[in-house]
């Protein structure tokens, strides 16, 4: 490699003409953030490994005369001499393509329209898909469930254009603990989660919610509390009182 990897702990990088100094392995997205430059993202989230699927964060990377397109969310800065343009014509073309395609897939999702406006795109020229389709297949729900919750309750079903998010074989998943992390993480709010009379419904399953003996409110699915309690080896009545009341009592 032409540039010596710096053993010193910081690497210099130019982003949209501004200089940043970052630790090796810092992503372009993080480096840009230190300069106050924001790059749109859809499939990355601080809690999980960058997945690199939506491609909306595509930027142009130059090293010497060579230029290539990379995704900001997962490109690790490991060497000197990189110059990044987050809004070059080529970067914007890629971003527009992605957003125009996603808007055709999910015509009613606002976050897409907002991002599209930002790159000068009003509407999609492609034939519109189902109005009810809200999933952009960013994979955040799956990655949160696997990497953060550790439940591995949902995943990708089918390939290619038929790809969907779902429980294995689209049957009720016994691994789901009803925590709702997937629904909270979803950027388009397309995972249905409802609560009624002490029962939470998600992924076609019903979860009984625990009632707090102090305030009388429902506060979390019993399955979830049990799972956490066993994982961390807590006494049986550890979660008996809801978080708020426990906070008050302490």
């Amino acid at each position: 490699m032409s540039h010596q990897a710096t053993t010193a702990s910081e690497i210099k990088v130019l982003i949209d003409g501004q200089e940043a100094r970052v630790k090796p392995e810092t992503t372009i997205f993080q480096a840009a953030k230190t300069l106050g430059i924001s790059i749109p993202t859809l499939c990355s989230h601080p809690a999980v490994e960058p997945y690199g699927a939506c491609r909306v964060c595509t930027v142009e990377l130059k090293r010497g005369k060579r230029s290539r397109m990379v995704t900001a969310c997962n490109y690790p800065i490991r060497e000197e001499g990189l110059e990044i343009q987050t809004r070059s014509e080529r970067a914007l073309r890629a971003r527009r393509l992605v957003l125009e395609l996603l808007m055709a897939r999910c015509p009613e999702v606002k976050i897409l329209r907002d991002m599209a406006q930002e790159v000068g795109l009003e509407k999609s020229r492609y034939p519109k898909g189902d109005d009810k389709e809200r999933c952009i297949l960013c994979g955040l729900c799956v990655n949160i469930c696997n990497q953060v919750v550790g439940a591995n309750a949902i995943g990708f079903v089918s390939r290619g254009v038929d790809r969907k998010i779902g429980t294995p074989f689209l049957e009720n998943s016994m691994d789901c603990i009803g925590c709702g992390a997937c629904a909270f993480a979803c950027p388009t709010q397309c995972i249905s989660m409802t609560e009624k009379d002490g029962v939470r419904k998600i992924w076609d399953r019903e979860f009984k919610l625990a009632v707090c003996p102090v305030c009388g409110n429902y506060y979390a699915p019993i399955d979830q509390l049990e799972t956490i309690r066993k994982q961390v080896n807590l006494p049986p009545d550890h979660f008996k009182v809801c978080f708020t009341c426990r906070g008050l009592k302490l």
């Binding site: 960058p50 939506c54 990379v70 690790p76 490991r78 890629a94 395609l101 297949l137 994979g139 990708f156």
Partner: protein, 618 residues
């Protein structure tokens, strides 16, 4: 052969080679019959069975050695039978020919003329060397395919097998890498990566263990060179892997084989077991202190699993999906350890380089592409099969000299190279020397070496649509540009072939192509616009004809053609009427017939069958 004793040194291998070479042949006569996937499909197994029966009846079994081998490449003329020392090759043999072959050729020593390959109307070829198909070929990597019994270690050893390994184990790893570098070997799996550079990066990358992997996923439709190598000469591929593993410093190998390749897998497994028995795998190989083992992994058959990061995820037992490779797999691959993946054919080149030397190797080929390449030549061509030619041979030589040109005196239109996401090259590029860089320059690619020849009856818009449809089905669906982009490009192409194209469609396809190339996660999506862009580049007039004139010049796109019968030419023979499956043709005997356009489904059968060219397609 009895169970072998593991060899403990290069010297013991040499001694074994000498003792094997001095053994007397089994019988006076040798009959070689390729029995690989392609030949089996054409009945080779039945020929072998029949030959064994006839020989037994005639009490000739002890005098004749039957050698069952892999494929000799010329699949069109399979099943093939080669007889030595008579030195004759019979083609398109059937089991019923066997008694005559035995009587005439094995007993009387005469040639069965009618089974020889017809070079022209007057002339028949007696030996393989006389076949035009082989004239320009240089069969180095495939030298043993169709010659040795792939399940016999003895056969492989007799060709000098594992001597490259013995030599390599006496070299320093870095010396081997330098040799491969000097040879100029580039990966045969598609990208044409510099093999030595990959090996060196993997060798110096921190992390243990390191993995060495054979990519035998071979998913390109129509390509089967890797299958043929594994079926016909598995030890060569394995020997290459062991040498490479030693150079890299890898103690664990994998082979990733697609599950549709049962024979390739069986032969490779046999080779693995034999290599363990002889001490070419395991601990302290040939007394060198080098340990290496190989594990077999079977792919689920998804095309994308041939992509390096998807393949490695699949070996780890995860979903076979690509991931970002900003840190290369040679640094962080399987379980984040340095992992070097090479294609079957790449590995098969390695023993050749060690045996014959980098200088010898580098003399073959062009400036930037050294050695030979195996191509599978299929489509509208007279001689289909696998051809191994030096890099730099022209498209014309492959299509016309080796391939024998286009059947039925049709005109050549295009040759598609590089697999589903390669490009279509027109007649004006026939003199292009075929190597990695030239193909990329003209908007196509080497890919794994598939070549599909197309004649004048091919619609290039339809071809683009066909490949894009394949890629749509094979996209893993992870990233937006590929999953959604190919679908939308396909929708535009579908519209065009249905006669509903609009001004601006071509420009939109071009714009989308640019974005998809830049934004897709892996090379499947990143190269998916190639079929579209290359057909726009070289056959723009066909797009325009569809869009502006609502015409399909080749008469392929159903929505744009109509069939009618010329009453002047029609003799009323009724052949079309009898062949039409929907009863769309009416007419009295010996009177001109007519096609009812409401019933016609445009299958074109009438056009094909009419002997008087009375059916018109427009």
């Amino acid at each position: 052969m009895n169970k072998a004793k593991a060899l403990k040194s290069a010297e013991e291998l040499k001694a074994l080679f000498q003792s094997l070479s001095s053994e007397k042949p089994v019988g006076k006569i040798r009959v070689t019959i390729p029995n690989a996937t392609c030949s089996i499909a054409r009945g080779s197994a039945g020929i072998i069975r029949r030959l064994e029966e006839v020989l037994k009846q005639k009490k000739l079994s002890s005098q004749v050695e039957i050698k069952v081998t892999g494929c000799r490449g010329f699949c069109q003329i399979e099943p093939v039978v080669v007889i030595e020392p008579l030195n004759v090759l019979y083609q398109r043999v059937s089991a019923d020919d066997v008694p005559e072959i035995v009587e005439t050729s094995l007993v009387q020593g005469q040639v069965v003329e009618r089974l020889l390959y017809p070079v022209s109307k007057e002339k028949r070829a007696r030996t393989e060397a006389e076949l035009p198909f082989y004239s320009l070929q240089k069969r180095f990597v495939t030298e043993n395919c169709g010659v040795i019994d792939p399940t016999s270690m003895k056969d492989y050893l007799l060709t000098g097998g594992y001597q490259a390994l013995a030599r390599a184990l006496k070299m320093k790893p870095e010396e081997i890498i330098n040799e491969v570098e000097k040879a100029g070997l580039r990966g045969r799996g598609g990208g044409g990566f510099n093999t030595a550079l990959k090996w060196r990066t993997c060798r110096t990358a921190p992390g243990e263990p390191k993995y060495a992997i054979i990519n035998a996923d071979e998913g390109d439709p129509g390509a089967y060179m890797d299958r043929s190598l594994l079926e016909g000469d598995p030890h060569r591929v394995l020997e290459g892997l062991i040498i490479g593993a030693y150079a890299i410093g890898s103690s664990q190998g994998f082979i990733y084989v697609r599950h549709e390749y049962p024979l390739a897998l069986r032969n490779f497994r046999t080779a693995l077991n034999q290599a363990r028995e002889y001490g070419f795998l395991g601990k302290n190989i040939l007394g060198s202190g080098f340990d290496f083992e190989v594990q077999v992994n079977q792919g689920g058959g998804a095309f994308v699993c041939g992509e390096s990061s998807a393949l490695m995820a699949s070996i780890e037992g995860k979903l076979g999906e690509p991931r970002a490779k900003y840190v290369h797999t040679v640094e962080r691959g399987i379980w984040d350890k340095p992992s070097n993946l090479n294609n079957v054919e790449t590995w098969a080149n390695v023993p050749l380089i060690i045996n014959k030397g980098a200088d010898w190797f580098a003399k073959i080929g062009t400036q930037g592409s050294k050695g030979t390449k195996i191509f599978s030549v299929v489509g509208k061509i007279n001689n289909t099969g696998l051809v191994e030619v030096p890099m730099g041979v022209t498209l014309k030589q492959i299509v016309f000299d080796i391939g024998g040109g286009i059947p039925q005196k049709k005109k050549f239109k295009a040759v598609q190279t590089g697999g589903p996401s390669g490009g279509c090259l027109p007649e004006s590029l026939l003199s292009l020397p075929v190597d990695f860089d030239r193909l990329t320059e003209v908007g196509s690619m080497m890919g794994s070496g598939g070549m599909i020849v197309m004649d004048e009856d091919t619609c290039m818009v339809d071809v683009a649509r066909y490949f894009l449809n394949f890629l749509k089905d094979e996209s893993c669906g992870k990233c937006t540009p590929c999953r959604e982009g190919i679908k939308q490009m396909l929708a535009i192409l579908n519209r065009i072939t249905e006669g509903k194209g609009q001004e601006g469609d071509v420009e939109q396809l071009e714009e989308m192509s640019g974005g998809i190339i830049d934004a897709a996660l892996c090379a499947l999506g990143g190269t998916s616009p190639n079929p579209v862009m290359s057909t726009i580049k070289y056959f723009r007039n066909e797009y325009d004809a569809h869009i502006r004139d609502h015409k399909c010049p080749a008469g392929v796109c159903k929505a744009l053609v109509t069939y009618s019968i010329d009453p002047q030419k029609c003799t009323g023979c009724g052949l079309c009427l009898r062949n039409c499956s929907t009863g769309a043709i009416k007419g009295a005997k010996k009177k001109p017939h007519r096609i009812n356009p409401k019933k016609c489904i445009k299958c074109g059968i009438c056009y094909e069958v009419c002997k008087f060219a009375a059916v018109k397609r427009s």
